[in-house]
Subunit: 89 residues, 2 copies
């Protein structure tokens, strides 16, 4: 898997990320990693679920990892939760 | 694992759920399942990460599952994403 096969989830509507995931698979990727942190984690799960249920019924969830990252903020370091969901076709 | 070892994540502060997880383990549970749906999914990951990093360093993440559930709303059925994170000691 190359770095190209990562979809980072931000604050846009879920369907933007669903389209990104589906496009990666249509371009020949065998795996796509969906990554998010903080409040975007819920949206990452939504994006994976909508992708699978509506567009990629043959895809599987290969791995789900969670963890914690330190991020620098105006008020010092802060911990933020992260998730990585690897989908495979 | 009995049904007692489930912590459902809602809209309360994260530390409430961290306390619930730690209490379950302290009461002798060998596994605790943390479940959430919709926007609470991010908080579920936070609760597991804070529990592990601050209070239960010896615990492991045994399994993470995601899925979709139909819920009845005023405006008909709606799909909501769910997560289940099983922690073990």
């Amino acid at each position: 898997m190359t770095d190209d096969n990562i979809v980072y989830i931000g604050n846009k509507p879920v369907m933007n990320y669903v389209l990104a995931v589906v496009t990666q698979f249509n371009n020949g990727a065998s795996e796509v990693a969906v990554k998010a942190r903080g409040k975007a984690i819920s949206r990452a799960v939504d994006a994976v679920e909508v992708s699978r249920n509506r567009f990629l019924p043959e895809s599987k969830i290969k791995e789900i990892k969670i963890g914690t990252e330190k991020i620098a903020t105006d008020r010092g370091d802060s911990n933020v939760s992260i998730i990585e969901i690897v989908m495979s076709k």
